[in-house]
């Protein structure tokens, strides 16, 4: 594969007895927006810092653009990084910050000034060159950090939770800008975040990490709709899990029996287990529909009692108690009408149902 730009092979990183990254294998394709997603302490930042060269792998090798850079120091790697706190040099103005890495570029003063102006244009801060570092807002710092790295035209841009310090509105705006910028410059981005929504919005592909392991690498859609493990299903978005046993699989339809749901049917999925074995059935909150009359079919439906609800503006969350289950099922409905529907009142008896392509079969953990 010639279009692989980063190739991480069997990389292990330990700090004393703590294993930060255990046996990571990963290929990043040229030009893609790749995210490392996981809870804090999962090793994603360590992996990124190994790509930048700030940490050396205990074992394994890292190739960037076909060149083994495992032991190459940061200042000789064809990558640049946007730091979590941006690390804008406080003693330099914006232009000097952006020009910092260009000392050995061989450009004349004029050419360099022109490049800086281009970068300021790119990050939508034209005319900010003379501003001091302390005069910038958080969003502006982030842009300057981007410009400072991008002016070097790196093969890969590494971003360490660059949006974490911004407030929600600004973060959403920067997400869109970041994505557009990446498509505009065409540079491979490797982006570290713990925010699953952010990863889903931005990425072409995502590697989900937990406790030093890469659990799953996939596209946002597949990670959300067809997660391969309970950890991924649970970490990305909200998921309801049910213990089930596979009874039959034929004609692309898997049938199962679940303690809490009764008979279920899943279409279009290869079962992860053999008939007779147990698996976890996972259903997203928004896949359910709520009705107040007993549906004709008893497959893919369950009777329950309305529990508490939460109004979230664009949608509402309902918690539905069903027999034999301790924690309620989480159900999300879009608020289509402008007034809050009174029919979903607490303690009402309801029937939940879902279509046969809405649920996911996952190998049960433990």
């Amino acid at each position: 594969m010639s279009d692989v730009i980063i190739s991480i092979k069997n990389v292990v990183k330990t700090f004393g007895k703590v294993v930060a990254v255990s046996n990571a294998n990963l290929d990043v394709v040229k030009g893609e927006f790749f995210s490392l997603l996981g809870p804090s302490g999962c090793g994603k930042t360590t992996l990124l810092r190994m790509l930048a060269g700030f940490e050396l792998p205990t074992e394994g090798s890292i190739e960037i653009d076909g060149q083994d850079v495992t032991l190459v120091p940061p200042n000789h790697r064809p990558v640049n990084m946007v730091f979590q706190n941006y690390a804008i040099f406080p003693h330099l103005n914006v232009a000097s910050n952006i020009a910092f890495g260009m000392r050995k570029s061989g450009l004349s003063k004029q050419e360099l000034a022109q490049r800086i102006d281009q970068m300021l244009e790119l990050i939508k801060l034209p005319g900010y060159g003379e501003r001091g570092a302390s005069e910038l807002s958080g969003g502006q710092r982030q842009r300057v950090a981007l410009a400072r790295a991008l002016i070097k035209q790196p093969k890969v841009l590494l971003l360490d939770e660059p949006l974490g310090a911004l407030d929600k509105k600004l973060r959403e705006q920067m997400q869109i800008e970041l994505r557009l910028l990446q498509q505009h410059v065409g540079i491979t981005f490797v982006f570290v975040t713990h925010d699953q929504e952010e990863a889903l919005t931005l990425s072409d592909r995502i590697a989900v990490m937990d406790q030093g392991d890469i659990i799953e690498v996939s596209t946002p859609t597949l990670l959300y709709e067809q997660p391969k493990s309970q950890f991924v299903a649970d970490f990305i978005g909200t998921m309801n899990f049910f213990d089930c046993t596979l009874t039959d699989y034929s004609d692309d339809v898997a049938s199962g029996q679940c303690a809490e749901l009764g008979e279920i049917r899943v279409k279009g999925q290869q079962p992860v287990v053999q008939p007779g074995e147990t698996f976890a059935l996972a259903i997203r909150p928004e896949k359910f529909s709520i009705s107040f009359a007993d549906p004709a079919s008893s497959v893919n439906t369950v009777e329950g009692r309305m529990g508490p609800s939460a109004y979230l503006g664009d949608r509402s969350h309902f918690y539905i108690h069903i027999k034999g289950r301790d924690n309620p099922i989480s159900v999300a409905l879009q608020n289509l009408s402008g007034v809050l529907d009174q029919k979903y009142s607490t303690d009402k008896t309801v029937w939940l149902s879902w279509s046969d392509d809405a649920a996911v079969m996952i190998r049960a953990e433990k």
Partner: protein, 254 residues
């Protein structure tokens, strides 16, 4: 308030009598004169002592500040194990009485047959000044964000250039403060110089010598007044510089 009077009244006596037109330090004041200051300008011994003190002071200031930068870097950057204990050890010279330090250094030099000179004074002052320099620089570097140096490396600079392009400019106010502070300490220091100077005389030693001659007292007062004023200016400048400049924290308010 009373404390301030107590603190500064004796110091004020010095310039007061240095302008008095009389050999003797007694009230009432007889008249205003600058002749004691004029007399200073002619004193040969004073000139050589002043130059000696400047030599020692400048070298000590530079050396102790360089050492201070290294130590502060080590302590704040690598979060060394037991760095608390290490700092404690470094700071010990601050609490050892100078006279003890002087005697022990004198013994060390005589055992190892090092001839007493300005160099030995300088070594003594270095021991005395380096802890101050470290204190100033550590407080400046505390909270120094390591990602500044990483960013510089990431943008292609090696350790040497990173120091000069990033670290040094950011800690510059601390460096200047340390230079001024250590220079002042060395310049004013008497006890160690008394033990270690040999035949070379520093300014405080020269003043001490002058006190034996009653007729030289007023011009010594004049000299003292000048030193007090200059030292005060330097120390205030050092503190102002230390506090000014860019904030090191790097935690930007968003």
């Amino acid at each position: 308030m009373l404390y301030l009077v107590f603190l500064y009244a004796p110091v004020a006596v010095l310039p007061l009598f240095s302008f008095n037109d009389s050999q003797y330090v007694t009230f009432p004041l007889l008249g205003f004169t600058l002749k004691w200051y004029a007399q200073l300008a002619d004193s040969q011994g004073l000139h050589s002592a002043l130059i000696n003190s400047l030599k020692v002071g400048v070298s000590v200031a530079v050396l102790s500040t360089v050492l201070g930068i290294f130590a502060a870097k080590a302590v704040t950057r690598y979060r060394m194990r037991r760095s608390g204990l290490l700092i404690g050890f470094i700071m010990v010279p601050l609490v050892i009485p100078e006279i003890i330090l002087g005697i022990s250094l004198l013994m060390t030099f005589s055992i190892s047959e090092v001839k007493l000179s300005l160099v030995t004074v300088g070594i003594g002052h270095l021991m005395l000044c380096t802890p101050f320099s470290m204190l100033v620089l550590i407080s400046r570097m505390e909270g120094f964000d390591q990602s500044y140096e990483e960013a510089s490396q990431d943008l292609g600079e090696n350790a040497w250039w990173t120091f000069w392009r990033v670290t040094f400019p950011i800690i510059l106010p601390g460096v200047v403060a340390s230079l001024l502070l250590t220079f002042t300490i060395s310049f004013d220091e008497f006890v160690l110089a008394f033990f270690l100077a040999g035949t070379d005389s520093t300014l405080p030693l020269h003043i001490w010598g002058q006190l034996r001659f009653p007729d030289k007292l007023p011009s010594t007062l004049a000299l003292g007044a000048i030193i007090v004023v200059l030292s005060t200016v330097v120390i205030f400048a050092a503190e102002l510089i230390r506090r000014s400049g860019v904030q090191v924290g790097g935690k930007s308010k968003v």
